[in-house]
Subunit: 427 residues, 2 copies
């Protein structure tokens, strides 16, 4: 029998692999199985599979999983339900059956289908077992509750390595983010801020990037504080590689989290989605140094959109790496914070009625003219190896028609080139 | 006959002196006299006298002059009216006759009386004639309309030197103020701001102090722009003396203004009052660099209290001279401005509903624990020469009882010492 054009055996392999790998990788899942809580175990397995099938922040997947449950949702996808049938099933759980719901879910099916044929999910679960990565699901007591504020864009599950206390301390955390190309001033401020916040009992959340992020983690470790890094790729792939030792140290005393399965590569899209997790998991976000179009502003936008307190550290107006901070203060009502004490105060008095014209919760950067699909398609392209549309669809986690539309737009702006054997990035 | 303990001849001298000196010093007054517009001339004479009798921002004097007219108000004071009689006269002009109005005016009389016996007013008018200082009154077409927003605290008249175009351009001006102990960073920012605003057609207002003020004036002059300095003493006394050449240049192509008569020394009280004129005369105020308790914050407070747009330039959080700017942004809703363009935008879109817990329009600094009377009494004291209470009352422009009360409070905090021959400043 063929499912979505797949041999039944492949599907059996996929779900079997999920079951086996998660069973060995996740103590929570193992406990649940021991207790013969079959429903809970099935949920864990299905969520693990979903982390490899849906790209981060996929609202259609969120709707399906939140409506039907991760297991039934996965079964429905494997059982070749149509978008219309899925829509009616979701509507039966109380979600309003809007006109565009069947189409929304049909598009989702087209995004997820290419990934069902991939052996990557199985490989990622085996890799998780090798590096002792564990899976967190929303019912776990250590699940970071803040991310649930992302609604349909909340992660379906989180892969992680580290110590459980770091997870529970996320409820009293402040995210310190900023430019990779930080100045000496920015690094000094990051060090003071991180150490000062650790002294006040806060856990430091950041993205493990070079520059500000790295300094924030390092200063927290140096102060014997807890720190957590959210990665844009799998927790088995330390990125950037220059922070290999730093990430190992974070995994030893703090935690490293990702909603992507092991083996997943960081892409621009995934960095943007990772930023929403940093903002959502933390009680407040502070941008320490950022250029006018820095990715840190994306994190700031998520924090503000979620109603999380947002701070920005000013700097010399002559420094381009402070321009983004000044922009946040000037245009987006970020609180001007100059000391760790003022940063700690952010958590005390949450700002009300923030209305920012920044990235929406769909994760698309307000500072980026490209649509989210275009970003993902561009991510999936190489500068040298030409790739076919189906290949790009699978890599980007998009439907073939979505890829074709995005390629057309990118082609118009000269960002991509069509060769005889497929598409490559332009100049 | 004795008036307020004065020989009648002294009073005649005083008013005669006013008449003669202003007649020669003020072309406006001269014109008015030529046109036999006796009422207008009398008003000019009386206002000139008031600048020497009442300290800047004296609300009782403002009430009397605005209610009765400068001439009748002066006559009433010279004619030994009581506070109660003055109150009834003022009430007849529409001012509500509150319970404390007679006492308020009686206290005013006690402040003004010591100065009526002084020959200083006459000397100051002669000095004005010598340096070609002229007098501006509210009916003059070049009167800076913005200062009328100060209400009862508005200046009764303004002494000035310079070119008339500088006065009319005040309607399109931005005040650039900041620390005397400016850093290289602050001076660089002041230069860029001033030159950039001149390029956009703005007149630059400042206070001629060392540091930021001086750089703002200099850069405006270097860009062939108009610039105006408000002084805390007479316009014949260039202060600080190190800015003698700078002030001469400002007087040649711009204007120097003061509400104090020639010969008047700058005191802390007068600096604070001068700040309200800078804020009121300008369309917006920008603080470029300021310490945590800088006097620039006083100017900023006046600007905000008047509903004028207020900007502050951020700087390194490691620089104490930027702490005041960050404080304005963080606590007082000042707009974070980083370029001349952003400063110019302040004038475009005035901020609404500013409610600052900063200095009230009574000119008292919100950053200073001393009352306004105490500041003035302390100003009037010397560290060496002991001064009697009546002498202090005359110098401070306060009543004897107010001086005694303030000396008591200052004595408690150890700021003053009583010697056998009078009072001196402590340590």
């Amino acid at each position: 029998m063929m499912l979505f054009g797949l041999e039944e055996a492949t599907v059996v392999d996929l779900t079997g692999g999920v079951r086996a790998s998660v069973g060995s990788a996740s103590p929570e899942a193992a406990e649940a199985t021991d207790a013969t809580d079959a429903a809970a175990a099935a949920d864990v397995f299905a969520r693990a599979a979903w982390t490899g099938i849906a790209e981060p922040g996929d609202a259609a997947a969120g709707l399906l999983v939140q409506g039907l449950g991760a297991g039934p949702a996965l079964t429905a996808v494997l059982d070749v339900w149509s978008g219309a049938r899925l829509a009616h099933a979701v509507a039966a759980t109380g979600v309003p059956l809007t006109d565009d719901l069947p189409a929304l879910l049909e598009q989702g099916l087209q995004r997820w289908r290419p990934r069902l044929s991939s052996a990557e999910v199985i490989r990622s679960l085996q890799q998780a077992a090798r590096v002792s990565a564990r899976l967190l699901v929303p019912t776990d007591p250590t699940w970071p509750a803040g991310v649930d504020d992302l609604g349909l864009h909340a992660p379906i599950a989180l892969w992680w390595r580290g110590v459980p206390t770091a997870l529970t301390a996320l409820s009293n955390s402040i995210a310190l983010v900023g430019a990779r190309a930080a100045t000496g001033y920015g690094e000094h401020v990051a060090m003071e801020a991180s150490a000062g916040l650790v002294d006040r009992g806060f856990l430091i959340v950041s993205g493990a990037a070079y520059g500000i992020d790295g300094m924030a983690h390092r200063a927290a470790l140096a102060s014997s504080g807890l720190t957590v890094a959210f990665l844009a790729g799998g927790v088995d792939r330390y990125y950037p590689s220059g922070h290999d030792a730093l990430l190992s140290r974070i995994a030893t005393s703090g935690a490293i989290l990702s909603e992507l399965p092991c083996g997943a590569a960081p892409t621009k899209w995934r960095f943007l989605q990772r930023n929403r997790l940093i903002a959502a998991a933390s009680a407040a976000t502070v941008v320490l140094e950022a250029g006018w179009r820095s990715g840190s502003l994306n994190t700031a936008g998520h924090a503000a959109a979620l109603g999380r307190p947002l701070g920005a550290v000013p700097g010399p107006v002559t420094s381009p790496t402070s321009a983004g901070c000044h922009r946040l203060i000037r245009e987006y009502d970020a609180v001007c914070v100059t000391t760790a004490e003022e940063m700690a105060e952010l958590v005390g008095e949450r700002m009300l009625s923030l209305t920012l014209d920044l990235p929406g919760s769909d994760g698309q950067s307000g500072f980026d003219a490209r649509t989210s699909d275009q970003v993902r398609v561009f991510d999936a392209l190489s500068t040298r190896a030409a790739r076919t549309v189906p290949d790009i669809a699978r890599r980007a986690g998009l439907s073939v028609s979505a890829v074709q539309g995005s390629l057309g737009a990118l082609d118009l702006e000269g960002a991509v080139l069509e060769k005889e054997t497929g598409w490559v990035r332009g100049r």
